[in-house]
């Protein structure tokens, strides 16, 4: 009886504890830095935007398309001159496009109101020499080849 009780109790504890399929695990994504070589006073922040590989950026505000994720530079303010911000965006395995844009509204507003992305064209400035870059994300791998030098 004693042994049976102990075995039952320990088994119950181990069964529940050993099943850990949902623990947070390594993630995939894109990692890099945005280096600002110049900054416009009219800007409130900058965003690294991830969107579908088949999407043209000037159609991003069309309802059928969706920004997959974005990283907002939290540095406030980004002073004129050279400044650098590290970023990381978690992504599932797949192919995407990346782009850096300048924001004319407070980054916090964008974060709190994701629907603003549907009319993002109103609030952005596209830096010179900035064009979307395609990236490939592999399972549990971080793509680290994505630094940006941008000039607003």
């Amino acid at each position: 009886m004693r042994l049976a009780l102990l075995i039952i109790i320990i088994s119950l504890l181990l069964m529940t504890a050993c099943e850990t399929p949902e623990s947070l695990e390594a993630v995939a994504g894109v990692d890099g830095a945005v280096i600002f070589t110049s900054w416009s006073d009219s800007l409130k922040g900058a965003v690294v935007v991830v969107f579908d590989k088949d999407l043209e950026f000037d159609r991003i505000d069309e309802p059928e398309y969706k920004v997959i994720d974005y990283f907002i530079t939290y540095s406030d303010p980004i002073s004129s001159g050279t400044s650098s911000v590290d970023y990381f965006i978690q992504l599932e395995t797949g192919e995407y496009q990346l782009m850096v844009i300048g924001l004319l509204l407070d980054p916090a507003q964008l974060l709190a109101n994701e629907e603003l992305f549907q009319e993002i064209q109103k609030y952005i400035v596209i830096p010179e020499n900035s064009a979307p870059r395609g990236i490939v994300i592999r399972e549990k791998k971080i793509n680290e080849q994505t630094d940006w030098y941008v000039q607003f």
Binding site: L6, E22, S23, D86, D106
Partner: protein, 738 residues
């Protein structure tokens, strides 16, 4: 300031309480001839005297405790018939009935208590502000004894509380049955008491767990239902009362060292430092008697690298307690705690790819501070029917943050309480008192503010055969910056039915309230991209708490030495619920959201078997936490609550060795405020919590050794968004007592 407060009290209430106070003394037995009971309490197996046994006369507040050799004496008893209760942690309680006390001839009564490892204290003091059989408690109460505390050798009391039924913590914020959620450390609905004195910070109403001298704690009592009628603001969701030990009469010195080693992250990509993080905790304490008095002093030094980059901490903590005994009628106690600490500070991880690292540029962020707590108790047993207690507390806190966002805060708090316990007859008792609290805050993010509160409380308890009826109320008024904010009346009513010596059923209802803290009203700060702005228009939140529960406590059934079952159904309805809510500009205000309700059930079992060689405890709590409109229609799930909570622990004691297993499960949080899950990327995923700890210990002569591994399976999760919790740590503790 006091005079301003008293002027605002309605005159008739003051007169009523004055009349009551005078009538107490008029009916007391002062000046009458007295008898006494004396004897010795011993262990039934070893025959050795048991020190520190609680001995009290049932139905009264009169009692004493045994000395180091187990001897006790109760003087000043009016001739009559008494029932004497003996209780001690780890021993089955014992009642001696029909003791006839006569004039001038001491009654000799020696008893033997039976050792029982699991036995939580059968007598609790928090739910009714007096010693009470746990089966007769009007509310759900659980208790943690010194054996459980010692078995884990934890540095922080929160690591003990997290393995209690219905109790969870988020970033050090205490949650009893989900009432608090996470409020950014500002405001709590669970009151922390140290020896019955409130220990919440004066600005944010938060808890500094490091000020609790864990190794000197005798027991912890957790009242899981609204306690505002007796304890006021912040007790609306429950009360945790941490009771420190009194020094034994025999001199004792303890030296303890704990060394811990953090594992590297299980996920290779998350590895962030070359060598493993270490934890050192060294404590030296000495206790002794000084004539009739007793004292202990404890010095603790702690150094912790932490499991993540800015989780490091260094602290020196000195605490001491002096217990003064002036005969059987007068006693006093003084407690002091001085904490100097320095710690890293972070509010968010670097990224989900580097969850153990701090954001770029924040590696020098940290805080340092000094906190001083000074508590005093004075007890006067005027007669066996009437006892008066006063509690006085002063608290100072100097705190500053350094790094990217320098900050500072200076706080102080003064608390005074006078409580009288009066037994009118053997079946009718009352407890009433006054409290006053003054808070002063000068902080960069709050500004310069003061607040104070004044309260009176009254609890009547009537026994009718197997029933105990209790009715209580508290009236409280509080001011902020000299302006009266609110005046609250909080009644409560409870019935307990104890149809047999092993079963108690209870039903209760009461009103709770909580006044907003200075932090909730006046915080003006920016963290990451979030801005917190003041809301001085906040009003106090109130609740109606209802609970039905039963406790079954039986012993000696086959191989079972003890079996305990506790079940409760509860429903808490809140009005003007205060929560931090971000608006469409990501600006957070502490806001009175419409209403809320949290209902649920809790079921717990505990057993001790095979001559106390095996202990098992398990409890399951289900919550349904919802935000509602004023009509009760459900609007949303309340943030930062776990719907399901299961704790389980097993202890085995064989061949001089102790082994323990603990398991904790909390279901995935259904709702958070700041960062929502992104289904397209998997970012900000929320997962359930499964944590398992194991430990093995052994004693040899004066030495005790303990090896423990916490979070054995390196399970990773977040509670507050973008903050990873826990890493596996293996600790080795060695202690010598002599």
């Amino acid at each position: 300031m006091n005079s301003q407060i008293f002027q605002k009290i309605r005159p008739w209430r003051s007169i009523l309480y004055l009349i009551l106070l005078v009538s107490m003394f008029a009916h007391s037995g002062f000046g009458q001839s007295k008898g006494s009971i004396q004897g010795r309490v011993t262990d039934s197996k070893t025959g050795e005297g048991l020190p520190g046994v609680n001995i009290h006369i049932q139905g009264s507040s009169y009692g004493t405790s045994s000395d180091f050799d187990g001897y006790y004496q109760l003087d000043g008893l009016i001739p009559g018939e008494y029932t004497l209760s003996f209780s001690m942690m780890g021993y089955a309680p014992y009642n001696e009935k029909n003791i006839a006390v006569v004039l001038d001839i001491p009654v000799q009564l020696s008893v033997q208590l039976k050792f029982n490892v699991l036995a939580s204290p059968q007598v609790v003091v928090t739910s009714s502000r007096k010693a009470q059989d746990i089966l007769e408690s009007p509310f759900s109460v659980s208790a943690i004894g010194p054996r459980e505390i010692e078995a884990k050798a934890v540095v922080n009391m929160i690591d003990i509380l997290s393995y209690e039924s219905g109790v969870s913590t988020i970033k050090g914020q205490l949650n009893i049955r989900g009432t608090s959620g996470y409020t950014m450390g500002a405001g709590t609905r669970s009151l922390l008491l140290l020896d019955g004195i409130p220990m919440l910070g004066s600005a944010a109403g938060n808890v500094t767990w490091a000020t609790i001298p864990t190794s000197e704690v005798d027991r912890v009592e957790i009242v899981k239902s609204g306690g505002s009628a007796l304890y006021g603001s912040s007790a609306m969701g429950g009360v945790v009362n941490i009771i420190t030990r009194n020094a034994p009469h025999k001199p004792e010195t303890r030296i303890s060292t704990k060394i811990g080693v953090y594992s590297h992250p299980r996920v290779d990509e998350w590895r962030w430092r070359e060598s493993r993080g270490l934890l050192y905790n060294t404590e030296i304490s000495h206790s002794r008697s000084i004539g009739n008095h007793a004292a202990w002093i404890r010095i603790q030094k702690r150094s912790d690298d932490g499991f993540m980059e800015l989780n490091w901490e260094e602290a020196v903590n000195i605490s001491a307690k002096l217990k003064l005994n002036f005969g059987s009628a007068h006693s006093a106690a003084f407690f002091i705690n001085i904490l100097d600490d320095k710690a890293g500070l972070t509010s968010i991880w670097k990224s989900s790819a580097n969850p153990f690292e701090a954001p770029e540029g924040s590696s020098n962020d940290g805080t340092q501070g000094r906190k001083v707590v000074l508590n005093g108790h004075y007890n006067y047993v005027y007669s066996p029917d009437l006892a008066i207690k006063t509690k006085t507390s002063a608290y100072w806190n100097e705190w500053s943050a350094f790094g990217v966002d320098p900050d500072y805060s200076n706080e102080n708090r003064f608390y005074e309480e006078v409580q009288a316990s009066k037994s009118w007859t053997k079946s009718l008792t009352s407890i009433f008192g006054l409290t006053f609290q003054q808070n002063n805050v000068n902080a960069q993010i709050f500004g310069d503010h003061n607040s104070n509160s004044f309260a009176t409380f009254l609890l009547l308890e009537k026994r009718l055969h197997q029933f105990t009826l209790s009715a209580g109320s508290r009236w409280e008024t509080y001011q902020v910056d000299g302006k009266r904010q609110d005046e609250v009346f909080t009644p409560q009513l409870a019935i307990n039915w104890k149809p047999s010596p092993w079963l108690g059923l209870r039903i209760s209802t009461g009103k709770g309230f909580r006044v907003p803290t200075v932090a909730e009203m006046f915080t003006s700060a920016r963290r990451s991209i979030f801005t917190v702005e003041p809301n001085p228009d906040l009003i106090s939140e109130t609740s109606i708490n209802r609970e039905f529960g039963l406790t079954l406590l039986a012993g000696q059934i086959g191989f079972l030495d003890l079996f305990k079952l506790d079940a409760a159904i509860f429903h808490n309805k809140f009005e003007n619920f205060i929560e931090p809510v971000p608006n469409s500009d990501a600006v957070i205000h502490f806001t009175n959201i419409a209403d809320a309700r949290i209902m649920g059930l809790e079921l717990g079992v505990g057993l001790s078997a095979f001559n106390n060689s095996v202990d098992y405890k398990s409890a399951f709590t289900i919550l349904d936490p919802m935000e509602t409109d004023t009509e009760g229609e459900i609007l949303d799930t309340l943030s930062y609550r776990h719907r399901y909570h299961w704790i389980s622990s097993l202890g085995m004691h064989y061949w001089g060795m102790d082994a323990s297993f603990e398991y904790r499960y909390l279901s995935r949080m259904e709702s958070v405020e700041l960062f929502q899950e992104n289904d397209l990327t998997g970012a900000d995923a929320r997962v359930p919590i499964h944590i398992m700890n194991v430990g093995i210990g052994s004693s040899y002569q004066d030495w005790h050794f303990l090896v423990r591994v916490e979070n054995v399976f390196q399970y990773y999760y977040t509670q507050l968004e973008r903050n990873i919790e826990e890493e596996r740590i293996a600790t080795f503790t060695v202690e010598r007592r002599f």
